[in-house]
């Protein structure tokens, strides 16, 4: 037990800040604390099954994803089902010119909160946590092809939301999401 505790404190607890920051992108801060605490409770419970030569960070994110999904189901929140395979990968980024003139982070939080959650997971895991596509597929429990299309589509949608929020502040974000989802 003391050895398990020491290992847990050395390799799992240091990721607390990252896991909390990540959880904050999906819910309010108070709720994020509950998610993180539940994540670490499960991590401690199943820590014996964790292989210490694998990536503990992606293991924790996988637990967080399960906790978040369970919580969403408990609250009867519908996680939008998107046919990622059918959506495919869009070859072009069409937001090159006027998009980057101003400070990028101004509207980023609002745009990110409008991004459908499956895309948000994929984009944040790829861009913030810099996990490999294989690790993201394990965390999100989906094929690697789905990860590719989610990352691609998530970034494009996020960019479109940012662009729209600058041109039409706050009003037409929902329209953009609907339009992109129908594409």
């Amino acid at each position: 037990m003391p050895r398990k505790r020491t290992t847990f404190e050395q390799i799992a607890v240091p990721h607390l800040a990252g896991v909390y920051r990540f959880a904050c992108q999906f819910t309010a801060k108070e709720r994020a604390q509950d998610l993180v605490q539940e994540t670490y409770l499960r991590a401690w419970k199943y820590f014996d099954s964790f292989r210490t030569d694998t990536n503990c960070r992606s293991w924790l994110y996988r637990i967080l994803h399960n906790v978040w999904r369970d919580a969403a189901h408990r609250q009867r929140l519908e996680i939008p089902l998107i046919d990622d395979e059918a959506a495919g990968i869009e070859p072009y980024y069409d937001w090159e010119e006027e998009f980057w003139r101003d400070e990028l982070s101004e509207n980023l939080a609002a745009a990110l909160s409008q991004l459908p959650e499956v895309y948000r997971w994929a984009v944040l895991l790829a861009d913030v946590e810099e996990l490999s596509y294989q690790e993201i597929a394990t965390v999100m429990d989906c094929p690697i092809g789905t990860v590719m299309s989610r990352v691609n589509r998530g970034r494009r949608t996020l960019a479109s939301l940012l662009l729209t929020s600058r041109i039409n502040p706050a009003n037409e974000l929902d329209e953009v999401i609907g339009k992109i989802s129908k594409e």
């Binding site: 605490q37 990968i89 070859p91 980024y93 939080a109 596509y133």
Partner: protein, 167 residues
């Protein structure tokens, strides 16, 4: 690699998911094409901005404390508020269990012993008490026959006669 091909693999290039051969080919194209180079830089800017935005939230101290407690046994937080392991001398050896735990264990053992000692004394009289639910007259006759006390008297208001001094 041309612009169209590069844009198709731009995400994979940024995320370092291309094979080394394809990555070299993409890098060569980026060096040659200013438009694709700008697209790559902008995607990297988006990634940087996301990282900066997410990094703003620090976990509250309460959460840090709660997570740190998860891997510690409950008694440790109760008996050693500072969270430090206390070493106690027991039979000439230093052990890590805190002294209050021994006190609690000792109390538990003493309590258990007291229960075991009291049990035979309390069970003895119950053998002579019958649980006759019949009427009072029937109970009196069986009482006389067996010498047992009929509890049904309590239900019939016979408590006074039960406790009368024997004549």
């Amino acid at each position: 690699m041309d612009c169209k091909e590069f844009r198709e693999v731009l995400d994979l290039y940024i995320d370092r998911e291309l094979s080394s051969e394809a990555e070299n080919s993409a890098r060569l194209h980026v060096n040659e094409c200013s438009r694709c180079r700008r697209a790559e830089q902008q995607l990297r800017s988006l990634r940087r901005a996301l990282k900066e935005m997410v990094a703003k939230n620090d976990p509250p101290l309460g959460l840090v404390g709660a997570v740190n407690k998860i891997s510690h046994p409950w008694w440790k937080s109760v008996f050693t508020p500072d969270g430090q392991q206390r070493r106690t001398r027991l039979w000439g050896r230093q052990v890590t269990l805190p002294a209050p735990v021994f006190a609690v264990l000792l109390l538990f053992v003493l309590g258990l012993g007291a229960l075991l000692v009291r049990r035979p004394a309390s069970t003895a009289p119950t053998a002579s008490i019958s649980q006759n639910r019949g009427g009072p007259t029937a109970a009196t006759s069986t009482e006389a026959a067996t010498g047992a006390i009929d509890l049904s008297r309590f239900d019939q208001g016979g408590r006074v006669s039960l406790y009368k001094a024997p004549r």
